[in-house]
């Protein structure tokens, strides 16, 4: 599925590498990345392609989200469609 990974947290070196490495290990293809640093707050949005398999997709999404724990990062993995639905009439 095409998903959006969003990462928010205090800026420091290596956040992009940390998330991207973990994606690569799980065979997640990164399609697009955009990131901003507002004052100290790091915000990154990745559009990714997660291999199709319902059970596995959920497990991978949970794993990616839990990467933020202990790293003072908030990571969300959500289906891309939710954003299309939210912003299209």
């Amino acid at each position: 599925m095409r998903a959006v990974i969003s990462v928010v947290g205090k800026d420091r070196p290596g956040i992009l590498a940390y998330v991207a490495t973990n994606c690569a290990q799980r065979n997640i293809n990164i399609v697009d990345v955009t990131q901003k640093v507002l004052q100290d707050l790091f915000t990154m949005i990745m559009i990714v392609e997660i291999p199709e398999d319902m059970e596995k997709t959920h497990q991978i999404a949970d794993e990616i989200e839990s990467l933020g724990e202990g790293q003072s990062l908030k990571i969300h993995v959500m289906h891309e469609d939710i954003f299309n639905a939210m912003h299209t009439i």
Partner: protein
């Protein structure tokens, strides 16, 4: 990235979910009980229980899967059924039996609500509707 998935929209959506508790309040599964009508109320109840617990057995799991996939919470899983007054019309007997079996079936599949214990009367009350009310 298409126009809908620009970063501002994404952040706005996440903020709505995180801070303003945006959620999907309820998903509802409609189940017709017309084929459970029987002249014997106990048999009718048995058929209802079987049908609901079969049809809705994956309701809660499916809701959880959708919730996980889209990253948006789904709070309630609801079942709605055919107005019970129609079944009372066929079976007679004490409608409370239907209420109890609906409750039991909903509990068995972990649904948050079950609706349908009502009578449709705008076109006039049937005997079944009257008994139920």
């Amino acid at each position: 990235m298409n126009k809908n998935t620009n970063s501002d929209n994404i952040i706005e959506t996440i903020r709505m979910i995180e801070e303003e508790n945006l959620d999907i309040r309820t998903i509802t599964m409609g189940i017709s009980l017309m084929d459970c009508a029987d002249s014997d109320i106990d048999r009718s109840c048995e058929k209802i229980y079987q049908k609901i617990t079969t049809k809705a057995k994956d309701l809660v799991k499916t809701a959880a899967d959708i919730s996980r996939e889209y990253g948006i919470p789904i709070i309630n899983q609801r079942i709605t059924v055919t107005p019970i007054s129609l079944l009372v019309s066929a079976s007679g007997g004490d409608p409370v039996k239907y209420a109890k079996i609906l409750d039991k079936a909903a509990k068995a599949v972990n649904a948050s609500f079950i609706g349908g214990f009502f009578a449709v009367v705008p076109e006039g009350m049937t005997a079944g509707g009257k008994t139920l009310i």
